[in-house]
């Protein structure tokens, strides 16, 4: 009862300033759009070029969304921002590409790819488990800053080991569509003149599938519900007999597996290297922040949006500037909408 009263007071207070800020942000958005069209106009961009930029952005965005999902999952129950998330993506991509290149099984390439992918997911999940038990669990009550620094350290260690094992060269993984056709190059679809690679379809389908599985797990199984309960109120969850330590372990397992899957579908379009995880992890972090860091659906939208915005912005300017746009977004979001770009004004904390 007390809490509803405080919320009412808070919204009443905020209302006038809200509309002013809303008006300003709409104006700002319009100005940005105009700027984009002006810059695009100088390059003689038509509708098709913009559609192409958006499509390519959605492909990168789907990967960011998967990484952000992993981050949010871990953050929700452990309050750890896992900067090693990018390492899971790298491991998924590198292990799959490496195993596939050796064609260890005497079967068709498609079977080899599948086996390599399964092994990569299992291995990465085991790494996630190991990290949680060995470096996160013993310092569970440490400050958020300490935990962040630990995950950065973990990332550096994994990247270092990857460098030792694989060297600096890029590995190669053929596009998945080539396993089902005679062609040696990826299939290309051209709806309305927009080029969509077959691998993009694989990426989108996989992302949708992973999201569906996670949705089912978190909302329709008792372990998923227990996980949510632990994120909502850790003390009350403990009183139900839900062990926070097991839920933390589960979070790392889910995040590692999802990260590995992202790396596997991404591998054919990027030529994976030992250091690919850093940038991806950071982009996933930006996406998660855009979604407010606690909501999985918002993180997915944040990821897609980030992919589109940075790709369009880079398209109308210089492609080398892509990463700069992502981090400008990060700074803007943190300054003006730290609760995420989707959520309404921050709710007052319950007493």
């Amino acid at each position: 009862m007390e809490s509803t009263i405080t919320t009412n007071v808070a919204t009443r207070k905020r209302k006038p300033s809200m509309s002013l800020r809303q008006g300003l942000s709409v104006l700002l958005l319009l100005a940005l759009l105009l700027l984009i069209f002006w810059l695009g106009g100088k390059k003689h961009f038509g509708l098709r070029q913009y559609a192409q930029l958006i499509m390519d952005g959605l492909r990168a965005g789907a990967i960011y969304a998967l990484i952000a999902l992993g981050l949010v999952t871990i953050y929700n129950v452990t309050n750890v921002i896992n900067f090693a998330q990018g390492a899971f993506v790298m491991l998924g991509a590198m292990i799959t590409a490496d195993l596939f290149a050796h064609q260890l099984l005497p079967f068709a390439p498609a079977v080899n790819l599948f086996a390599a992918a399964v092994f990569a997911i299992l291995f990465t999940t085991a790494v996630g488990l190991f990290i949680e038990r060995v470096v996160i669990a013993p310092v569970r009550d440490a400050s958020p800053l300490t935990l962040i620094i630990i995950t950065v350290g973990v990332y550096i260690v994994i990247q270092g080991l990857a460098l030792l094992y694989w060297g600096t060269g890029a590995l190669k993984l053929p596009a998945f569509s080539t396993f089902f056709t005679e062609a040696t190059r990826d299939k290309v679809y051209r709806p309305f003149g927009v080029i969509i690679k077959g691998q993009s379809l694989w990426i989108w389908t996989t992302t949708a599938l992973v999201m569906a599985v996670l949705y089912w797990f978190f909302n329709f199984t008792i372990y998923g519900k227990a996980f949510q309960a632990s994120a909502i109120n850790r003390t009350a969850a403990r009183l139900m007999g839900i062990s926070p330590s097991k839920m933390s372990l589960l979070a790392f397992v889910v995040a590692a597996a999802v990260g590995a899957v992202a790396g596997i579908v991404l591998a054919p379009v990027t030529s994976p290297t030992y250091d690919m995880g850093l940038k991806l992890g950071l982009k996933g972090f930006v996406a998660a922040i855009m979604g407010g860091l606690v909501s999985a659906p918002a993180a997915v939208i944040g990821g897609l949006l980030l992919g589109v915005v940075e790709n369009v912005a880079a398209g109308v300017t210089k492609s080398g500037l892509k990463d700069i746009f992502a981090f400008i977004i990060l700074i803007l979001v943190l300054l003006y909408r730290p609760q995420g770009i989707l959520s309404k004004a921050k709710e007052t904390e319950k007493v």
Partner: protein, 243 residues
């Protein structure tokens, strides 16, 4: 004896919150734990349910030592703790909240048995059945308290710990709530009740303990304590002084 606590001491860092607390709960009775704010009532419940650990002393439940057991193991042993401020899972449905109350026995007893128990809770609190799919955070304070108690009962506890169930509720709802707790006793449920509302708690309970700055200062038959001038002066609005 169902629960036996033997001279426990609990600390928050260097601050001692419980001093040599000894109490027991017999099967089938309601024991009230009364005291002012900060007397250590909640600390005692947390120590029993494993959220806090006693630095010394022993807690026996059905003769089994649970002093150092984990919270999950204590739930499994048969103690269910309904926390202060209700603490329902606000963004989960009423149904899911009840389901999670049975988390510890879900695998052992199976989904069917748990669903049957949820129906039983709905019979006990028909209001919750109406709001089965609603998010728990949207319920009124009284309904949330019913849900919190229902969730606690879902563990099929041998001992139910209730922490300040009347806190922040309207007087009429408090009356219903205490009637409900009495009806739980009629069903054979053992309850350890922590309350600031001393009069209501003492009227309801069989036995009671009075806690003051971490120490048990008085104990005995609840109705006798209700008449005790010291209790009346300190907890029942000072009528004893006038008399």
């Amino acid at each position: 004896m169902l629960l036996q606590i033997d001279r426990i001491n609990t600390y928050y860092g260097h601050i001692q919150a419980l001093k040599e607390v000894t109490l027991h709960v017999n099967p089938g009775e309601i024991v009230a734990l009364v005291g002012a704010n900060g007397a250590g009532k909640t600390t005692l419940l947390h120590t029993i349910s494993g959220l806090l650990r006693a630095r010394s002393g022993r807690i026996l439940f059905q003769g089994q030592d649970i002093t150092k057991a984990r919270a999950a193991a204590i739930v499994r042993a048969g103690i269910s703790h309904v926390p202060e401020h209700r603490q329902v899972f606000g963004t989960l449905s009423v149904y899911d909240n009840l389901l999670l109350g049975a988390y510890q026995r879900y695998r052992r007893d199976g989904r069917k048995a748990v669903q049957r128990d949820i129906e039983e809770i709905f019979d006990l609190f028909p209001r919750l059945r109406e709001r089965k799919k609603q998010m728990a955070g949207t319920l009124s304070g009284g309904e949330q308290q019913m849900l919190a108690i229902g969730r606690g009962l879902m563990a099929r506890p041998k001992l139910l710990l209730l922490d300040e169930p009347s806190l922040g509720l309207a007087p009429l709802i408090v009356r219903d709530l205490f009637q409900l707790i009495a009806s739980l006793r009629d069903r054979g449920q053992t309850v350890l009740l922590v309350e600031q509302n001393a009069r209501a708690a003492l009227k309801l309970a069989d036995r009671a303990y009075i806690l003051e700055t971490g120490r048990i200062v008085l104990e005995g038959n609840a109705h006798e304590l209700l008449e005790d001038p010291r209790v009346q002066a300190a907890y029942l609005g000072g009528h004893a002084l006038a008399a």
